[in-house]
């Protein structure tokens, strides 16, 4: 029942130092928990329990409160993301132009579902909200690369570039 990623934590001392420096700045900022989590996710790429414990203790709130916030917002993740983060936009404009099929194809090709990471940690898939490229609909992203006006047929070719 517990919602942990199951991936062993591999944070470094350097990351923890960075995190603690950021937290020191945010500790007394009104409403600093959200920025703290955003900084932490920027440092670690995700928010594993070990990191949330540090945040809870420095920010002076309970771990449950931290987790309650983390699990509320879609962008916070307790599962690490792949080296290549794939996003398929399911915003209205993309959806009406068939992005659902694109997502299904990505899932099929990689053999994982949206929200998951491949076992080699290379790819992770997210179904995203509108990323604002409605003119290019349907849109898929791989890290910072944007692929617009694609169909399910293009998926395999795009993914091949990262293999």
């Amino acid at each position: 029942m517990a919602k942990t990623s199951g991936v062993p934590f591999q944070g470094t001392k350097e990351q923890e130092k960075q995190l603690r420096e950021k937290l020191a700045e945010l500790k007394d900022v009104q409403g600093g928990l959200m920025p703290a989590l955003q900084e932490a996710q920027a440092i670690y790429g995700y928010l594993p329990k070990e990191v949330q414990i540090i945040i809870a203790e420095v920010m002076g709130v309970s771990l449950e409160e931290v987790y309650g916030v983390v699990s509320f917002y879609a962008q916070f993740t307790i599962v690490p993301k792949g080296k290549y983060k794939i996003g398929v936009c399911l915003g209205t404009a993309c959806y009406v132009k068939g992005s659902g099929e694109v997502l299904a194809e990505v899932e099929k090709v990689l053999g994982i579902k949206a929200g998951q990471i491949t076992s080699d940690a290379k790819f992770s898939i997210d179904a995203t909200r509108c990323i604002g490229c409605c003119g290019l609909a349907p849109v898929m992203t791989v890290n910072d690369d944007v692929y617009g006006r694609i169909t399910a047929k293009d998926v395999a070719g795009i993914l091949a570039k990262y293999n």
């Binding site: 009104q30 409403g31 928990l33 959200m34 509320f72 915003g91 209205t92 009406v96 490229c133």
Partner: protein, 637 residues
């Protein structure tokens, strides 16, 4: 710190730089007196064009200009969104205003050679609007632009948002100067009240009244907040303003701070908008450097500072109380009202919250007066409204039109109509909170009250166009899935009500619903509207109610005939092979993931091989067969 005189001096100095940017018009080019610059190249740096590598285009321009040592003659400017995203990446060259669309990095050399050096417009790159035969040179001459009126977007696509001097050149910070030197806080509020400006974020509450409430609230500390958590799928008005004209928001928030007596502001931006966030950060930095934010602005004794707070992917945070809970560092759950934010808002202090587009109008109202603003729009909906056109429409992009403009004009004239000769079926406004407007109501004027009257709402301005291929039940389900996903889960009515509604709707699209299901759905819709804690829940049933109202026949087709007229709802789809057309090539069978296709004994006349047949019991309705049939022998229905 800069004084008003300093700012005026910058404005003067900058006039020569901006002179040729005549808002994209091609007239008067002949009479244009070149300044020290020969030409200016404006490249759209909005998210849409940026995703299409417009930054690479800029780099290429810079590289070639440098190679050719033309830096003193040519100015390359990366602007915010021009609006016509469908044509992106977009480049405009002044003084001609030549509007180049779908520009590629490889095209840059040609533009430089022919146009920047040779003075000759590169015809092949000019934009052709759908329905327009001749190529139009200037953006402002396109149908898309001609019928717009740009107030909130006035600087978008015109200035470099990362250069405060350009903003100042276009009268930036003049409104703030006017307010701080010649107006009392009540006079500012009165002007906004008189303008009739209503909130552009959704419900359309009169902005001036909000300012007045917050002004009147008792409290030593007050806050000004900006809602830039634009979460409606398909809406990107606020993003474009922030990307194209961030100072307009900063200046307006400072004015609001002066009006209500606040010294601290927060801008709550979606984290999905990295470019907007970056430009805001740059703009805030520059404003601070110029002393236009911070202590003792203009040396006139007024203090105001701004902080950016990022959202983290929760649509409900666009609701005002949820937004504040989120800034406070909690789960973005709405709070009951009253107390209203004007009395007890952020950190329990009186708080003013407006959205980006609302703020984007404020400086213009202050500078030009409420009477000027009132000239546009309708009696109850003054001014203009920005819409994000999307879906089945030719000119996807951003448009700003006077309130009260008929929907038909927006879709057919500005939007360029429906692609591929399809028929307009419905327009969806207001995102997940809004409703679907059927073709029969296409002449409805677009203003707050007219939209409410027909069961939709303005919302923040998303306008999604649907054609005959869209199933309205499926669309309702799409929006409802969105709200179910985005419900915060706090109140019963929304958490469980929307979920049960979605389950009923799924029965409809699966063909397992009865006519009673439709009645029960309708009852549940009204219950959710009546009982939800916040605006998200109260409006969540709108897409269902409005489609039930205008497209009931389509629902009934699903329920009674077990048929999806648009051929979208998979469970109701049947793929069939026309045995006369089928040549028996077997492509369909090879592409069928379910092995549902096999040979028959029948060989059609003129064909050599037996035709194929689909076993509907095995069929997973993926459509792969149809997509792979080169002979149009497969149909769905």
């Amino acid at each position: 710190m800069k004084t008003i005189q300093d700012i005026n001096a910058i404005r003067e100095k900058m006039q020569s730089v901006i002179a040729m940017r005549n808002h994209g018009t091609s007239k008067d080019v002949k009479s244009f007196e070149p300044t020290h610059l020969k030409r200016e190249v404006l490249i759209c740096g909005g998210t849409g064009c940026h995703s299409n590598k417009s930054d690479k285009i800029r780099d290429e321009f810079n590289k070639i200009i440098k190679e050719k040592k033309m830096e003193n003659d040519i100015l390359i400017v990366m602007t915010g969104c021009f609006g016509l995203c469908a044509a992106g990446p977009v480049v405009i060259v002044y003084p001609e205003g030549a509007f180049y669309s779908k520009v590629k990095v490889e095209d840059v050399a040609e533009i430089v050679e022919k146009h920047l050096i040779g003075g000759e417009i590169v015809d092949r790159l000019l934009h052709t609007s759908p329905g327009e035969v001749e190529k139009v040179v200037a953006l402002s001459d396109t149908n898309f632009y001609k019928q717009q009126k740009r107030v909130a977007l006035r600087n978008c696509g015109v200035i470099d948002p990362e250069n405060i001097d350009e903003y100042i050149a276009f009268d930036g910070y003049q409104a703030l100067a006017k307010v701080l030197t010649s107006m009392s806080s009540q006079e500012v509020i009165d002007e906004v009240l008189k303008s009739g400006l209503r909130g552009r974020g959704g419900a359309g509450f009169p902005t001036g009244r909000k300012w007045q409430f917050t002004h009147d609230a008792v409290g030593d500390v007050k806050y000004v907040c900006c809602n830039a958590d634009e979460g409606d799928p398909g809406a990107f008005m606020d993003r474009s303003v922030l990307e194209g004209d961030p100072h307009a928001v900063i200046e307006a928030m400072t004015i609001a701070g002066y009006a209500i007596g606040a010294h601290q502001g927060y801008i709550y931006v979606r984290a999905e908008y990295p470019i907007a966030v970056h430009r805001l950060q740059v703009a805030i930095g520059q404003a601070k450097e110029y002393g236009l934010l911070g202590k003792n602005i203009f040396g006139l004794g007024f203090d105001f500072d701004l902080e950016i707070r990022l959202g983290a992917g929760a649509f409900v945070c666009g609701e005002e109380t949820a937004l504040m809970t989120s800034i406070e560092g909690h789960r973005g759950e709405p709070r009951p009202r009253p107390p209203f934010p004007a009395i007890k808002g952020l950190f329990a202090k009186p708080t003013l919250l407006n959205n980006v587009e609302t703020y984007a109008n404020v400086c213009q109202i202050i500078l030009n007066g409420a009477d000027w603003f009132c000239q546009t729009g309708t009696e109850k909906s003054r001014g203009t409204k920005v819409f994000a056109l999307g879906g089945k429409i030719n000119n996807t992009g951003l448009v700003e039109v006077p309130m009260g403009t008929p929907l038909r004009k927006v879709i057919e004239d500005i939007g360029g109509g429906i692609p591929n000769g399809k028929k307009f079926k419905a327009a969806q406004t207001g995102g997940p909170s809004g409703g679907c407007i059927p073709a029969s109501l296409i002449d409805t004027p677009v203003d707050y009250d007219s939209l409410i009257a027909i069961g939709s709402m303005m919302g923040s301005g998303g306008l999604i166009v649907m054609d005959e291929d869209n199933c309205m039940v499926d669309i309702a389900k799409f929006f409802l899935e969105f709200t179910v996903d985005e419900s915060c889960g706090k109140c019963t009515a929304c958490r469980l009500g929307t979920r049960r509604l979605l389950e009923m709707l799924t029965k409809v699209t699966d063909g397992t619903a009865t006519l009673e299901t439709l009645d029960e759905m309708e009852k549940l819709c009204y219950y959710i509207k009546d009982n939800s804690l916040c605006g998200l829940g109260q409006t969540a049933p709108n897409p269902v109610l409005s489609t039930l109202r205008y497209f009931r026949d389509e629902y009934e087709a699903h329920v009674v005939e077990k048929r999806c007229p648009a051929g979208v709802c998979k469970k109701l789809l049947n793929f069939t092979i026309d045995k006369e057309k089928c040549i028996g090539c077997g492509m369909c069978a090879r592409n069928c993931p379910a092995n549902a296709i096999s040979k028959t004994d029948y060989v059609a006349p003129n064909h050599k091989l037996p035709s194929m047949v689909i076993d509907s019991a095995k069929c997973v309705k993926c459509g792969a067969c149809m997509a792979n049939c080169k002979f149009n022998a497969i149909s769905k229905g």
